[in-house]
Symmetry: C2
Subunit: 248 residues, 2 copies
DNA sequence: AAGTATTTGTTCGATTTCGAACGCACGGAC
DNA sequence: GTCCGTGCGTTCGAAATCGAACAAATACTT
């Protein structure tokens, strides 16, 4: 296993960047740059988790699979976070699927080395527990949002969340995908997207989404977007809330 | 501060009961028995959290408050768990309301003593992190359930969850409350409850709910009840999944 | 014990959302 | 350049859910 050493100053991941330099020594030597190709299932529900992935670029959805085979997004991770949260809790089995929605790269560390680093670095423990709490906040708010808010607002929220992590105004995204993420049917998304489109907030053509009026989208979203972003900022700092995408 | 010393053998809380006796010394002397009166807000969203409450009896809902003032349940805690989870993560502010739905009692420990105990007892840390992960699983599954499952199934699920923690087949509960918990309107619950009632699974009269056919309810629930219960059992053992209520 | 205020459970029309079928646009093959 | 396969976005009737008004039962007051 001979991969080149990674410098902390060059990482784009918000958690790694926030780590005190003295604590970097516990992680850095064990990190390996890996690709996150589109649609890859990084972790599968019920399956083992043998590594943590600190996301450098791209976006990964955390998905619940229901009995009927449908999947619903419970959370999103991007350059502000990581995959393999169960290892932070001392467990090694995933409750959810983690699937790449926007391709990117990550820094991978095996479970054994990760646990050693966690044991030796109180700063790392504290940081990752704060991230876990922020993620819990996201999942919590999303659950209420699913129960109460109409599709149009939820779609605007989801687009903003994706925009934060995409690192560009334009990214590949289909109606069918967004419908699955939101747990609604495709036509529902088409109608909602049509409204946002006619309002000039977005443009989309055949699997190609463009954010054209971000302030407008922020006015169209339910409060859940801001609530979650505020919680991320509180626990991880403003840069994390911006997901290192535009803020990086 | 002169409260009588509590013996580990006498606690009904699943987490405290599962703690290795040697580690009890870090917590026991600081625990104080407190009441959980009906409708009390133990922690308020955005407010400080200055203590952890290990629930002995009763049931407490974890609630998200939305912009329109409505509240939606994101999770439930009973004798299998605790309140003040944010302290386990090293934070001291609550993202949600914690409100008592079925009165009971708890063992309270202040934040400072709790942190000291967490620092000194790896077993306590590991145990409470596993609980935090189980709770995250509950919130995650509930979010997907909110998005996809019809009211009747979700009501059956909620009643089973409450039954686990109520310690009795009969407990006070109104349609209005259940509607708020599920994030649906009152009539929706009335119709669903009427179906369960006519099927002989439950009886209810003016704020008084009786579970009359638990196996029938388990057949009427969506898979989410079993999924969450299974995750609790995996992480905390079968007794915790049964919530110490019937399994006590 | 009767009247009254309060809270609960039910019914109704309007809206949202669902699930299936339809027609269209791109990309590769020849 | 044209054909054809694949996948996308849109339209429709049906069902579930919503929000407001109604009716019934309890608890409090005198």
């Amino acid at each position: 296993m001979s991969h080149s050493t990674i410098q902390q100053s060059s990482v784009r991941n918000g958690l790694l960047a926030a780590l005190p330099p003295a604590d970097w020594a516990h992680l850095g030597p064990h990190l390996e740059a890996v690709e996150l190709p589109f649609d890859q299932t990084v972790h599968a529900a019920g399956g083992p988790v043998d590594a943590v992935f600190f996301i450098e670029t791209g976006m990964v959805s955390i998905l619940v699979t229901l009995e009927d085979g449908s999947q619903v997004e419970s959370g999103i991770a991007g350059p502000e976070g990581l995959l393999g949260l169960t290892l932070v809790f001392g467990d090694s089995r995933s409750f959810t699927d983690a699937r790449v929605q926007l391709e990117g790269t990550a820094l991978r560390i095996g479970a054994a080395a990760f646990h050693t680093a966690m044991d030796r670095s109180p700063a790392l423990r504290a940081l990752l527990l704060r991230y876990a709490l922020a993620f819990l906040g996201q999942v919590t708010q999303s659950g209420a949002c699913n129960a109460r808010h109409p599709i149009e607002n939820r779609l605007a929220r989801w687009l903003l969340t994706a925009h934060d992590r995409a690192g560009a105004d334009e990214f590949p995204m289909t109606h069918e995908f967004m419908a699955m993420m939101l747990g609604v049917n495709r036509p529902g998304v088409s109608i909602a997207a049509g409204i946002l489109n006619r309002a000039g907030l977005i443009r989309y053509v055949r699997g190609h989404m463009t954010i054209t009026d971000r302030p407008g989208l922020e006015a169209a979203t339910c409060e859940c977007y801001h609530t979650v972003r505020h919680e991320y900022a509180r626990l991880l700092g403003p840069r994390a809330a911006a997901s290192a995408a535009s803020g990086g």
